[in-house]
C-alpha cells in the first residue's frame, strides 16, 4: 500500500521550478532515505508532503488525501526539521507534555527516557538550545510521536558523531517495535545507509532514481587503469563518471550490468575493479558534468 503517491508533481516559484515533474511512490512502513544535493528540492518536497506548501501542478496524495490543509494528514504525520519553534513560555519538559494530546500514538515513557538519557535541563527553553541540542531534542519528538508517517529533514545538523549513532539506533529500535513509514533526508548517506531500506535520489527537482539501498550499493563499479584499456571496455556504453589521473591513468564509473559479462577479462587486463560507495555514486549521478572539481584546476 502506498502511503505517498506522487505523479508528475511540480512546484514553481515564478519561473524557478523547485520540483519539476517528480513521480514516485513510498510504500508503507519502510524507512526511505531522501538524498540529493543542496537545492535539489528535498525540503520543498517534504514540506508539500507535510501539507505546508501547495503543489503548482501534478498530483500528490498522502494517505490517499491531498495533504495541504488536511487535518487527517496532519494528525498522522510529523515533520521534524530545524525550523520548529516553541514559545519561550514553555520549558522543554512542558513541550513534551504539550505535544502528547496531539499525537495519538505518543509514547511519553520513551520521550522522557530519551530526554533523561541526553541529560537535558528540564527548565530550559527551546530557543536557548545550541544547534546540536536542538536537533537532539527535536529528534526525541520525532521518535516518540510514533506517527504513521514520520519525516526527518536533516535531523542530525550539529549533532556530534556519538549522538548521531544514538539517534540512528534509537530510531531503528523504536521502528522495530512499532513499525511506521519513515523518511529521512540527510547529507550523511554513508552513516545512514545501514538503516535505510530504500533510497530516493532527487536532483534539480526531479527523480534521479528510487531503489532499495542494497541494489544501489551494487549498481555501479569503478574501473581504474590505463586509459586506453579502460576505454576499450566501456566504449559505446553510458559512463556515469570519469576522471583522469597522472600518467595516462583513467577512473571510470559505470553500471555493473553493462560490463558484468566481461569482468574477468577486465581484471586480467590489469584494470582494477572496485565497488563504488553509495555516497560517491549519488554524487556522480547528480553532478552537472561528467568530471569532477579537478576540471576547474585543469582549465587553468
Amino acid at each position: 500500500m502506498s502511503v505517498i503517491q506522487c505523479v508528475d508533481l511540480t512546484k514553481a516559484y515564478g519561473k524557478l521550478k523547485a520540483i519539476d515533474h517528480l513521480t514516485f511512490d513510498i510504500d508503507e512502513n519502510k524507512i526511505t532515505g531522501l538524498i540529493g544535493r543542496n537545492g535539489s528540492g528535498k525540503t520543498t518536497l517534504l514540506k508539500m508532503i507535510s501539507g505546508y506548501l501547495i503543489p503548482t501542478k501534478g498530483e500528490l496524495k498522502v494517505f490517499s488525501k491531498k495533504p495541504f490543509n488536511s487535518l487527517e494528514v496532519s494528525a498522522n504525520s510529523i515533520l521534524i526539521d530545524d525550523t520548529m519553534t516553541f514559545s519561550d513560555s514553555l520549558t522543554l519538559v512542558d513541550i513534551l507534555k504539550e505535544m502528547a494530546p496531539f499525537y495519538a500514538n505518543w509514547n511519553s515513557g520513551l520521550a522522557l527516557g530519551l530526554f533523561d538519557y541526553y541529560s537535558f535541563n528540564p527548565k530550559q527553553a527551546h530557543s536557548n538550545l545550541s544547534k546540536g541540542s536542538k536537533s537532539t531534542f527535536n529528534s526525541i519528538l520525532g521518535i516518540a510521536s510514533r506517527c504513521p508517517l514520520t519525516i526527518f529533514d536533516e535531523p542530525t545538523i550539529g549533532m556530534d558523531s556519538a549522538v548521531r549513532k544514538d539517534f540512528y539506533r534509537a530510531l531503528l529500535k523504536d521502528y522495530l517495535e512499532y513499525p511506521r513509514t519513515i523518511i529521512l533526508s540527510s547529507h550523511m548517506l554513508s552513516e545512514l545507509e545501514g538503516i535505510l531500506e530504500d533510497i530516493l535520489l532527487i536532483n534539480e527537482g526531479t527523480k534521479r532514481l528510487h531503489l532499495p539501498a542494497l541494489e544501489l550499493k551494487e549498481l555501479a563499479v569503478g574501473l581504474r587503469g590505463n586509459a586506453e584499456v579502460v576505454l576499450s571496455f566501456v566504449e559505446g556504453k553510458e559512463i556515469i563518471y570519469q576522471e583522469n589521473f597522472a600518467q595516462g591513468s583513467l577512473y571510470v564509473v559505470i553500471r555493473r550490468g553493462l560490463i558484468q559479462q566481461h569482468i574477468d577479462q577486465i581484471k586480467q587486463s590489469g584494470v582494477e575493479v572496485s565497488p563504488v560507495s553509495t555516497d560517491d555514486l549519488c554524487v556522480y549521478l547528480t553532478s552537472k558534468t561528467k568530471g569532477g572539481i579537478d576540471d576547474v584546476f585543469k582549465r587553468s
Binding site: 540512528y168 531503528l172 529500535k173 545501514g194 560507495s277
Partner: protein, 128 residues
C-alpha cells in the same frame, strides 16, 4: 562482530558470512532456530530488510529453511555443507586469482606448477 560499513562487501553478505561462521562454530546447531531479521537488525543496527536478504542468501543455498509461522531454522548437516562450500568455492576463487596474477606476470603453466610443488614440499617439510 562489528559490521564494516566501508568495506567492499555489502552488509547483507557480511551478515550471511557471519551467520555461517556461527553455524560452523556450532554457536547455532543444526535444527536450531536462527536469528530472525528483526533480531539481526537490532544486533547490528541495520534495516531488517537488509538482514532478511542475508538470511535469504542462506535459504537459497538451503543452509537454513523456513518453518511456517515459526521462523528460520538451520538445516540438518548445514555445518558440513558450509565447510564443503568454503573449501571448494573459496579455494577455487583463490586459485582463479592465482592464475590471473600469474598470467599478468607472464609466468608459464609449468613454472607455476613448479612453484606450487616447491611450496608444498617446504610446508610439508615444516610439518615433519
Amino acid at each position: 562482530m562489528i559490521l564494516n560499513v566501508d568495506s567492499m562487501k555489502p552488509i547483507y553478505i557480511q551478515i550471511a558470512e557471519w551467520l555461517e561462521g556461527e553455524i560452523l562454530s556450532e554457536n547455532i546447531k543444526d535444527e536450531e532456530r536462527i536469528y530472525s531479521q528483526y533480531q539481526l537488525a537490532e544486533m547490528f543496527t541495520i534495516n531488517p530488510a537488509t538482514a532478511a536478504k542475508g538470511l535469504n542468501i542462506l535459504a537459497d543455498e538451503a543452509i537454513v529453511y523456513k518453518k511456517r509461522g515459526l521462523g528460520m531454522f538451520v538445516s540438518p548437516n548445514a555445518k558440513k555443507f558450509i565447510l564443503t562450500k568454503r573449501r571448494s568455492k573459496g579455494l577455487r576463487q583463490m586459485v582463479k586469482e592465482l592464475v590471473m596474477e600469474a598470467n599478468r606476470l607472464e609466468v608459464s603453466q609449468s613454472e607455476l606448477d613448479r612453484m606450487i610443488q616447491q611450496v608444498r614440499k617446504e610446508s610439508g617439510q615444516d610439518e615433519l
